[in-house]
């Protein structure tokens, strides 16, 4: 009570009620939307990596099927093919596979046979491509033809088109959802700030009538609401990062992580969230306060 009040130790109280800064409604709404936005951002990054991973796995290698021709043994043909392919620029390594490995692949077609030598089993050459400038299928075919080897090149291009399309779909959907949620979060910050400020109309009025400069009043609200938004943005971002970390830990090798591979570094993507939220809130508060003051004059 007032008995405890001592003017000597008095310090000016903030002009805006301190409890407003802990306004649970505003904090919670902004935090939830920032959480969702950050989570979507993490999801998009992870999905992008996953898609990129599939594609690069496929683009990183090609398989060449070599058929023996003109008396050459299949092994010799494969060796020659590997040699020819190794010389192509964009190929890191070309390795002829064992006969058994090739047989495994065509066994369903020919049934169990004990005498492999009797069969015209083709040989496989596994080609590892340079990740940055991979050799194209026509280049490989060209080299093989030049070396006079009867072979077909499978650079997974059919698969890659599908994978690319799926990856693009994931990327674009993710980006769309992210934009939607981030836009919603921003709009919520704007509207929540306006609502909170309208409730403090009397503070604006009293300060205005007491001769406070418009900028001074606007700044009060600006800092206050920027602070609230930053705090709730940080809470939401931290929540999303924590969930990301849990997913990362849970799905070490399998589980969710292979499908959505989250890297520790990805978690840093939530960092701009509190700053953005604060900036949006600051601008919203400033313009709203200015509007209220104009209406009062």
């Amino acid at each position: 009570m007032s008995a405890a009040f001592d003017p000597v130790t008095w310090r000016p109280a903030p002009f805006l009620p301190a409890r407003d800064a802990r306004d649970p409604a505003l904090l919670f709404v902004v935090a939830v939307l920032c959480f969702l936005a950050c989570l979507t951002a993490l999801g998009v990054i992870a999905a992008d990596r996953a898609a990129g991973g599939w594609a690069s796995q496929l683009t990183g290698e090609a398989t060449v099927i070599v058929r023996a021709r003109g008396g050459e043994t299949p092994d010799a043909a494969a060796a020659r093919a590997a040699e020819a392919l190794a010389g192509v620029s964009g190929v890191t390594e070309a390795r002829a596979l064992e006969r058994e490995q090739a047989y495994e692949l065509i066994r369903p077609w020919i049934g169990d046979t004990t005498d492999l030598d009797d069969l015209p089993v083709p040989r496989l050459v596994a080609v590892t491509l340079d990740a940055s400038t991979p050799a194209t299928a026509p280049a490989l075919t060209q080299a093989l033809r030049a070396a006079g080897v009867d072979a077909s090149v499978d650079d997974h291009s059919v698969w890659i088109k599908d994978i690319r399309r799926a990856a693009d779909l994931v990327r674009w959907t993710g980006a769309l959802v992210f934009l939607l949620i981030a836009g919603a979060a921003g709009a919520v910050v704007v509207f929540a700030t306006r609502a909170g400020l309208a409730a403090r109309r009397e503070v604006v009025e009293v300060l205005h009538l007491a001769g406070a400069e418009d900028g001074y009043i606007a700044r009060l609200f600006q800092f206050r609401f920027a602070y609230i938004a930053a705090v709730s943005g940080a809470i939401g971002a931290a929540g999303a990062a924590a969930l990301g970390a849990v997913l990362r830990l849970l799905g070490g090798g399998e589980g969710i992580t292979p499908a959505l591979p989250i890297a520790w570094m990805d978690l840093l993507a939530v960092l701009p969230c509190p700053l953005l939220a604060a900036a949006v809130a600051a601008v919203a508060a400033r313009t709203t306060a200015a509007g209220l003051i104009r209406a009062m004059r």
């Binding site: 007032s2 008995a3 008095w10 109280a13 001769g211």
Partner: protein, 232 residues
């Protein structure tokens, strides 16, 4: 033209709210610097509206209002705060901030004027004691009695020693002894140079004070103040 030394001047001023009827009509008067006037009149006569014109919270629909020698209409929006800081107002509905302590409410004009807490702490405490709030300085307005709120509003209006003090019904909720005490505070302030204008129904106080009266009826001035130009 404004006579030297007139701090407030009305010339044929009319005023209305929005598209409503005129609540003030053809007011002309001048208040010399350092003068002390009462404004009386029945409820709804336009006393509060007249004060609003002086502290620039409303503008005349016709005529010319001069404050501190400047035409109110010519004051640029960005210069209004500076003018307001030279005027202390006891609003009829008090306009205290419920979330600030009595002390913070009273200190508000000093903070806005940019003074340091250390420089005014003692003054604010002394003023609050003077108006009888010495033991309620830490209380929030909603926990104050009606008369205590009114005295707090008065303390806030005078704390920065304004050049003009406008008090709108400052003693409606206090007893006669307290009303006299408040009147003495205003007189003291006036002696230090503040021009004082009090809107009130308290006929007793007006009569005993012997100060000049502007009497309004239906927005018209019926008693004229003494001729301008006799300021300090």
């Amino acid at each position: 033209m404004s006579a030297e030394g007139d701090i407030v001047r009305f010339e044929d001023v009319s005023m209305r709210y929005g598209r409503g009827p005129d609540v003030l009509r053809d007011l002309s008067f001048a208040l010399p610097k350092g003068s002390f006037h009462f404004i009386t009149g029945p409820s709804g006569a336009g006393k509060s509206s007249l004060l609003k014109l002086i502290y620039l919270a409303a503008s005349a629909s016709r005529g010319r209002v001069e404050v501190f020698g400047q035409d109110a209409r010519q004051v640029r929006t960005k210069d209004i705060p500076a003018v307001r800081r030279r005027i202390g107002v006891v609003f009829q509905d008090l306009l205290l901030l419920d979330h600030l302590s009595a002390f913070d409410n009273a200190a508000l004009p000093l903070r806005i004027a940019g003074f340091k807490a250390a420089d005014y702490r003692a003054d604010v405490a002394e003023l609050l004691s003077w108006v009888g709030l010495g033991d309620r300085m830490g209380a929030m307005p909603p926990t104050l009695a009606g008369g205590e709120k009114q005295r707090l509003a008065i303390a806030r209006a005078v704390v920065a020693r304004p050049e003009i003090l406008l008090a709108d019904e400052p003693s409606g909720n206090v007893d006669y002894d307290m009303a006299l005490r408040i009147f003495r505070l205003f007189v003291e302030l006036n002696r230090l140079g503040t021009t004082v204008i009090i809107a009130t129904h308290d006929q007793d106080l007006v009569a005993r004070s012997g100060r000049p009266v502007l009497h309004l009826e239906h927005g018209r001035l019926t008693h004229l103040p003494p001729p301008p130009g006799e300021g300090p």
